[in-house]
Symmetry: C4
Subunit: 423 residues, 4 copies
């Protein structure tokens, strides 16, 4: 079912929707304005009847999916159809207008709209990402139809004046209808008889309901657009209340606000771990490998690690962010993590901060000795701009190694062979 | 209290609601249009009086539930009633109209509506699942009554013109009222005296409040319908931002979107663990057993396990989802979990991916050797379609076994007896 | 500041609010309708002037709270006042009307409304629980004032017709204003000159903004009322989707729905742990002691436990709910918890379910042997109705005991003395 | 890009926005009212043309930031410009009005508004904190333009009556337009021809959409303002339901409500840990150091601790709140934490509560012996007012010390040297 948009059944559904809409528009007009003698009308009627009959045949053959199972046996399909949509489709397919002239029976053909409702619902189900947009489009569609029907009803109640042509009569009825539904109510056309007053009241109440629906939908749409932002702003507000209450120095406040701005511009305020946590393990693994495999395989002493080990490490790398000027670590501290640079630039500097040893960029790594030995860092690392790093903790690494005894032994050899530690 | 809908007290409540509504409608009309001489009115009055008196007797006997305790002692009930609803019910039960003709005292009978308010509130409390729908229905009910009263008030202020009949007068007043409340304001009927102007202003302000209430409710209703979807879409948006930012390959993006679509279609985007976590332990256990007992009892070496052990295992099985084409595990990896297939199809294939050993379906299990030995998997398992599996981790299993020393010993024997591992 | 409502300063604030409102109402009317010659007006003017002058004196002495510090030194207060509200209060206190007759300078006295704004804001800050309600009340207050001012403005632009009295003129202006703000727009009074048209446009746009504000507030109010319910319904919907998807038997579904209904009716859907977790440790301890001390002190072998130990146990008791018919445990299982009955009834029954040994109620406890020995339960316990129990796990208890070595020794003795285990 | 507001490019953008707006306003007016002969119009036309041409030159040189990379090479910029905005800017820069008199071609110059859309969007992106406010401002801007255009369209359809001047004509058209958009609909100006009716219907429907947008935005704005409060109130409601259900004594309820009021007034209901948890480790460290370093360095036996150790301790201090009258601990309990007073006052009192040994205030600490020895507290500590303390647990402290073996040895010596414990 999750196939391309040019699926022939989809096109057929679209055609049927167009035909049903056409029927829903012209049948009431025909009845109210008395257009039966016109040849064009009969022609339209024939075409629609043809399509509706064809649709019945199509449904006898069209496979359906029920709880993930595709049903395509013709007999089962025919049985399902007979018990389900058959009556509706049959009613819609009978050309009452052609058989007996202008008759209210023609309105039975509007039953086909139930089919359109069904198709639109299926469509919205499929397009969950655009559900709110689709809801608005469908709403405009139904609103148009309803306004049209209400205008026809108004025309029927008012009767057709002699002095103006049919098209103007219809237009004035539609104009009254929109004026009332939109609650504008100029008052240039008002009901005069009791029955017209009742009709007008119904239209007004409908207008209120429609208004409520429009506004509720728009509010909802805006609220959903802003869900991420509302979340972000709530964080920000909390933070700024806290900082004011605790008198955090302005310089630090500025840095925190900058960090939040960075977070919002680059990631709508969410962090990688949260996002990945929602994926099932297999996809999480793949995404992790795509993001991190390259970094890991660059590290010399991971040469020879199995795919499984690299996968396990990739899953355990923890994203951390550093802001410009932050020290990732300082010379002399006992190292507990190694780091991979996913994005950003860091400087390797001497303990006194005077000498710049190296500048590392996207894809580089540092601090890997911490995984082998517990010893002081030999240099400081400072972030130059916003840095997205991945950290691998010593404990995590050792925990992973317990599942890979061969590689653990290999690591011990590496460690023995590098007693003169770097960095 | 949580009993069927045909409870006689419920039916009685419904009857009383109908009578009170009837009284609320006809009494103001009678007063304004001067319909006292009509026999039909007197008849209605008698019937309603009868019901209201009967209601007083019913309440003397009807048991009530207070904080989970049912009170049915007649003396206690009578005392409660005298201190509570008695005065209201009495006022409503006096047929002022029959006693003294058209009098404003009749309006006192509308006090019975307080009872209706109480009943409706109880009803909404009981039907929490339909609370918003019920709120809308009650709102329409009250709106109708208010519009009716406002129309009667307008009639009283305008006086009855000679040339039109009473029904048309009332209809025109109602029409004015709806036109104003709906903020349409055609302007074909406008206030002329000062007191009418003040009345019109009150109605207009009421209209604004009603509008606000309608729209607020609709917005709320839509927001609650969409709570699950909003949540889901927020996840999706976060994810797609993340994937764009980190340049995840399109093929993988496609798979992730497909997974999300599957999740939404099948489970509104929520996973089993979250749902079960909200249940109390006893129900969680039962649900787990319903879902998983069969799978567990199929495993040969769980034969002979006690019900308690199976229950503990069922509670600890973790649901995992695999997408089509995922490897659940590959030949050669050290196994750490066994799996039960809740739904879906997997293939057992050779290490090189060329030979298909078997196809496992709903209710099958695999990888059970991992619970006994730490040894490489002897074959790969690949998901054919979306698979809902349950995973049982080796550590979890061993933790559970500590509570069942007899079965633990049994397992060790099983292990010793199967030194040639399968799969 | 958190004192009773009859605080004299509060009453004074109320008086000043009334005076300022009075001034805001009568000054524009006086100017537009030309009522300066009336003695009543002069009298009102004198009273208000008096109050405003008195208010200035009051403020020189009234202590204020700044960041939790109360300031009551007269010199500091005077300095603060001079730098702050002095100018506003002075402007409002000058009786321009009495000094120079009808003059636009009188409008300067409306500056006192800034004070009202300040008072209302403080009030809302204090009454956070009723904040939304207060917002609506304040809104009605301001809306009334604005409508009054707009009506005065309209009167000033239209001029006073000769043939109708002043009060009717004002009423018609107010009527026009409400008709326009409420977007009803009958059209019986419409602008005729260009300046009136511009004025009408401003009022209409204001009407739209006010409408938006009313509706936004109502929607917000409804959403906040329903926050708990929305949460609850979301859980319920998730659950029912899950149960349908996984074909949970109807009988079990019924029980789960009943449980949810119980949860909602009794606790708005939230559980005790969540609520307590939000309290600071000291209050959490007190609440826990209130709820649980009695139960704990009833247990024979806790006799002699220190207050600290009982407190620690109370903090660690975990609330659990059982639904009618649930087995809390079954005879033969290894016991891992003891239970206290907070509310509900349980039955102690034999292993085969035939014999009823005892019925335990609110305040009773059972399964306490599990804290001392790891041995099978000697009887089954079944919930008769919804039971709120507290569970104390063996591990938790042992962890707590490590901090109380004396009591731990005492427990060992108790255990040695009871080798024949009960239940 | 995150630079000051006086950035010259920003000023230029502002100028161009003003010019484009000016063009969008005067061109339709010129066309409808036929103002081409007026010299002032030609002058305005020339100035705008000049600015638009200059803007094209500016864009050839202006550096742009793409995914964090600044592009300033003139050739690359020129190529990007030619492929992007060039056509739009060119259309807007041609002075059609000056070349060929009143012509509909002039409307092409409104293309420049696309540029304004782009600028406004960038601006909103940058000012995320004020996004909702900016959205409202932009909305008013666009609403003004649209109302202006609709009024011009109405004028074009109605034609210019002879008897009123151009300005009045325009004003009446605008008045009609606002009356209709605001759904007031006085009905003093109504469409007369068919085409005018269609136009009116379009304007009415637009009015409904605009209304929906206004109200949705206001509702959203209010909801976001209240996000923190809604959260807080939900907590409060849950709590009060719980307390009523469990019959918590009123005195304790009062204290709990007071605590919540304190929390709200001082911190909008959020606690420090939640806020800090959202910061990246580097900023969290800095904030922690700002808040806590002073306290820590005051403790005698932390003299000589390295910066890293103090940082680690600062990160691990847990904020706790005590309400007035709470005992932080009582004499005789085994101490497990030391405390720092961040804000508030506590009393050191004797075991029997009679003697007051000392009063400690902001910046003091107590209970530090608990970090060295497991022994009973020698005095009780009671909170005098609301106290924000930081607690350092013994276990936490010992865990930190494992990373600082030198300091751990130092601590043991301190402990040996202080066998007579204080407090």
């Amino acid at each position: 079912m999750r196939d391309d948009i040019l699926n022939p059944y989809r096109i057929w559904d679209l055609l049927i929707t167009v035909c049903a809409t056409l029927a829903a528009v012209y049948i009431p007009v025909q009845l109210v304005l008395g257009l039966h003698e016109q040849a064009a009308m009969a022609y339209v009627d024939w075409v629609i009847t043809l399509f509706f009959v064809a649709d019945m045949l199509v449904h006898l053959r069209r496979p359906v999916t029920v709880k993930g199972q595709v049903i395509d046996s013709p007999t089962v399909l025919a049985r399902r159809y007979m018990k389900g949509w058959f009556v509706v489709d049959l009613l819609a397919a009978i050309p009452f207008g052609l058989l007996s002239g202008a008759t209210l029976l023609q309105l039975l053909r509007l039953a086909k709209l139930a089919r359109v409702v069904h198709l639109l619902r299926q469509w919205r189900q499929r397009e969950i990402q655009n559900a709110t947009l689709l809801r608005l489009i469908f709403f405009v569609y139904w609103l148009g139809l309803i306004a049209h029907w209400l205008a026809c009803g108004w025309l029927a109640l008012r009767g057709m004046p002699e002095d103006i042509d049919k098209w103007t009569s219809y237009l004035r009825a539609l104009y009254w209808c929109i004026t009332t539904l939109a609650t504008v109510g100029y008052g240039d056309i008002t009901p005069t008889t009791n029955i017209q007053m009742v009709y007008a009241m119904v239209v007004m109440l409908l207008g209120v309901a429609i208004y409520g629906y429009v506004i509720g939908n728009v509010a909802n749409l805006l609220a959903n657009i802003d869900l991420a932002k509302a979340h972000y702003l709530a964080s920000l507000e909390r933070l700024s209340t806290f900082m004011r209450y605790r008198n955090i120095p302005l310089r630090l406040q500025r840095r925190i606000y900058d960090y939040y701005a960075y977070l919002w511009e680059n990631r709508l305020g969410y962090d990688e771990s949260t996002v990945l946590a929602e994926l099932p393990i297999s996809l999480r693994t793949e995404v992790s490998l795509v993001l991190k495999r390259e970094f890991i395989e660059k590290v010399p002493f991971f040469k020879g690690a199995s795919q499984e080990l690299i996968r396990d490490i990739a899953l355990e790398l923890r994203p951390v962010v550093f802001t410009p000027g932050d020290y990732i670590f300082k010379a002399g501290e006992i190292g507990r993590h190694m780091y991979f640079i996913s994005r950003g630039t860091v400087e390797v500097i001497s303990a006194d901060g005077k000498a710049l040893f190296a500048t590392l960029r996207d894809g580089d790594f540092f601090g890997e000795i911490a995984l082998l030995f517990s010893q002081p860092r030999s240099a400081s690392i400072r972030a130059v701009d916003y840095c997205d790093l991945y950290a691998l903790g010593k404990e995590t690494f050792e925990r992973i190694l317990t599942h890979y005894p061969d590689f653990a032994m290999h690591m011990q050899e590496v460690a023995r062979g590098r007693q003169e530690p770097r960095q």
